[in-house]
């Protein structure tokens, strides 16, 4: 069930009572009540200690609405820094409205959306359009990412400054690599002026030309053209060296291979401004998911081997990989129900991010605090946005979830406009129960 965000009817005060708060920024990890007023957190205290009547809202007294969070985890709303909302231009796959609604259904209260729309988000007017549409939809907060190059063509640099003024939080040609090393160098240098990261999709065009999956045993068996790990790692190596040379902020998107994780680990040890994110499918699925020519297992970077999956998990565990981001990439049925070579790259991510990520907690790779850190504060820090915490004074974006609740994913009933998930029919553990953005409930799950 969902409630359309109606900011003008937001309650002036709200008490989230009895939940287990996990707020990595403040270090809180235990039973706390959270009091919200006018869309911001105003108080966090031990259960029963917060009396609205004594606080900033005299006169409300016992009329303050209460959300019963007993048995649930209360966390800062998730920030998915890698989403394709497809609007403008590909509204048949997803719209800003359906995409942000899918986000809040997955506990994601802020999304950073990639620039590969049509027209490309390479100028301030497109940025403005996306922001307006996001606000109009009223679900998750929408933070556009601008293109590095005009039209994603990899030739002329886009107007970073004007786009930053319009509201972008990063630049990226995601979907395409920045093949020209000189452009990459200039982008890293120039972006320093605005203190924004350059987010890179690492794929060597020559090594990955015409390839549709990971290069290895499965590609050899299926007769499909493979992308070697080196197709990713050589670009990561190049960009780390450029980040060293320029002192620019480099963010590696959807890191997927063991070699690249190791390079980022070393770069961080050397103190370079390099960050990275990983997508749940890269720490849950292996290349064998492609078996049977499953087009819902086709994405870039491709699903890799068990060794790579383990490296991504370890990278998340030790902080080499800062954030979890979904690379939510909706596609129409016709773009997936076809020959494998012709199928589009990418899968849905927003609605499955939490249960898939919780598997790493259950398996002991991550503590719950580290998981929440990767889902909210870490991406907020990278993007430089004021989200990701429930400290008093913070915007009241929060998610309430039951980490133990089991459910079965049915692609047909997903909130996204598209259905391209490899997890259809999977038993999931961990369910978002309620999502609040700016103190307003924008998603509520009822059995």
């Amino acid at each position: 069930m969902t409630t359309r965000n109606q900011r003008n009817t937001a309650p002036p005060a709200l008490l989230v009572r009895g939940g287990h708060l996990v707020d990595p920024v403040s270090g809180r990890d235990g039973l706390f009540d959270v009091l919200i007023e006018h869309g911001r957190v105003v108080g966090v205290g031990s259960p029963g200690s917060l009396d609205p009547a004594q606080l900033a809202m005299p006169g409300m007294g016992s009329d303050v609405p209460v959300i019963d969070a007993r048995g649930l985890i209360v966390a800062p709303g998730f920030v998915d820094m890698h989403v394709h909302l497809r609007e403008p231009g590909y509204e048949y796959k997803e719209t800003i409205e359906t995409g942000t609604r899918a986000a809040v259904a997955g506990g994601v209260t802020s999304v950073a959306c990639m620039a590969n729309t049509d027209p490309v988000n390479d100028n301030a007017s497109v940025t403005k359009y996306i922001i307006d549409k996001g606000a109009e939809a009223g679900y998750a907060n929408v933070y556009p990412i601008g293109a590095v190059s005009v039209g994603l063509k990899g030739e002329r640099m886009a107007e970073f400054g004007k786009m930053v003024e319009a509201g972008i939080v990063a630049v990226s040609d995601d979907g395409m690599p920045v093949a020209d090393s000189s452009l990459m160098r200039r982008a890293l240098e120039y972006a320093r002026m605005f203190d924004i990261p350059v987010i890179v999709h690492e794929e060597d065009p020559g090594l990955c030309c015409g390839a549709v999956m990971n290069e290895g045993t499965v590609s050899v068996r299926l007769g499909l053209r493979g992308m070697p790990s080196a197709g990713e790692s050589v670009m990561v190596a190049r960009d780390i060296e450029l980040a060293r040379a320029t002192r620019g902020r480099l963010h590696i998107a959807h890191i997927s291979c063991a070699e690249a994780v190791e390079m980022v680990r070393r770069a961080k040890a050397e103190g370079l401004a390099v960050t990275a994110e990983a997508a749940p499918h890269h720490f849950i699925l292996e290349e064998s998911a492609v078996d049977g020519y499953n087009t819902n297992a086709k994405m870039k970077p491709p699903l890799r081997t068990a060794r790579d999956v383990e490296a991504v998990r370890q990278g998340l565990a030790d902080g080499t990989i800062d954030a979890i981001a979904t690379d939510h990439a909706p596609h129409h049925r016709d773009e997936k129900v076809c020959e494998f070579d012709k199928a589009a790259f990418g899968i849905l991510g927003l609605e499955t991010m939490l249960p898939l990520s919780l598997e790493l907690v259950r398996a002991g790779y991550l503590s719950m605090t580290r998981l929440i850190d990767a889902l909210a504060p870490a991406p907020s820090r990278i993007l430089g946005i004021e989200r990701g915490t429930l400290e008093p004074g913070a915007v009241a974006d929060l998610v309430l979830f039951d980490p133990e609740r089991e459910w079965t994913l049915t692609a047909a009933t997903m909130v996204s406009k598209s259905r391209n998930t490899p997890f259809d029919g999977w038993k999931m553990k961990g369910r978002v129960v309620r999502t609040l953005v700016g103190g307003v409930t924008v998603w509520e799950h009822t059995e």
């Binding site: 007769g223 053209r225 699925l285 292996e286 297992a297 699903l303 068990a306 020959e339």
Partner: protein, 331 residues
Amino acid sequence: MALGNRHLLGLEGVSAEDITVLLDTAESLVEVSRREVKKLPALRGKTVINFFVENSTRTRTSFEIAAKRLSADAISISSSSSSMAKGETFEDTARNLAAMSPDCIVVRHPASGAARFLAGVVDCSIINAGDGSHEHPTQALLDLLTIRQRKKCAWKDLVVTIVGDIVHSRVARSNLFGLRTLGATVRLAGPPTLLPEEFREFGAELYYDIGSAVQDADVIMMLRIQHERMASNYFPTLNEYARYFCLNAEKVARAKPDVIILHPGPINRGIEISSEVADGPYSVIMSQVANGVALRMALLYQLIIPGADGIRGSALVEPAVTAAPGRARIE
């Protein structure tokens, strides 16, 4: 027992028993082409569609003759005559073919996995007549038939060497899977650019030197080399390729005295095989073509006529979908 539609999508996973049944059936049908009236009524009233999205006169003709010799109504649709040339999707074209209620669709397609895709869309038997770089099971079965006719020893005592562009070859893959299932030793030879190490995981021995690869071999299978591979730098020139991998009389001399030489055709004379060898006494290339018809007749009969006594192998029926394929281990 309801078997549903039976397909031949590849030889990977097909049991030795099923391969043997197909070879036995084909063996008993070889004589049909020597009869005065080369026609059997077994598939009277059945419809076979040859759906060739990628051109191949040789394979298409072989399937057409096989279907017609069994009295099936056989029609052929090529990519240029199908609506796919007008932008129709593969799925829509397939559904249109299915609406004509065929009993079997034989499909040749440039994309790996296309036969498997078709099997999921339409309700009839599917035969893979070559899908991209994946498999070409009927070519491999006719190769196996040709080998079995000439070699009286057990499969496990046979050494088969396959030479050429292994990574792009659907013929090599199908032969590798079939031969390994039957127990033969399979050696693969080619330059490392065309012979990924991963092939070891399917039970093959890898060679970069054709001389060692054919040493004491019972069977040598030469693959056609595609000229366009040169453009992608898999090897520098055809001339240099031929210098290292052309099968000439001197190299044949290193194999067993009764070695036989196969080639799926069409041959690039002087590139992968010298004329003296192609036309020589070891060459069984023409038997391969004749066996192709008998083998395809056997397959059409075994797939289209539902029977509990015929083939029943796993890969011939729609492979079962596992609950969560590709899920990485997590403790």
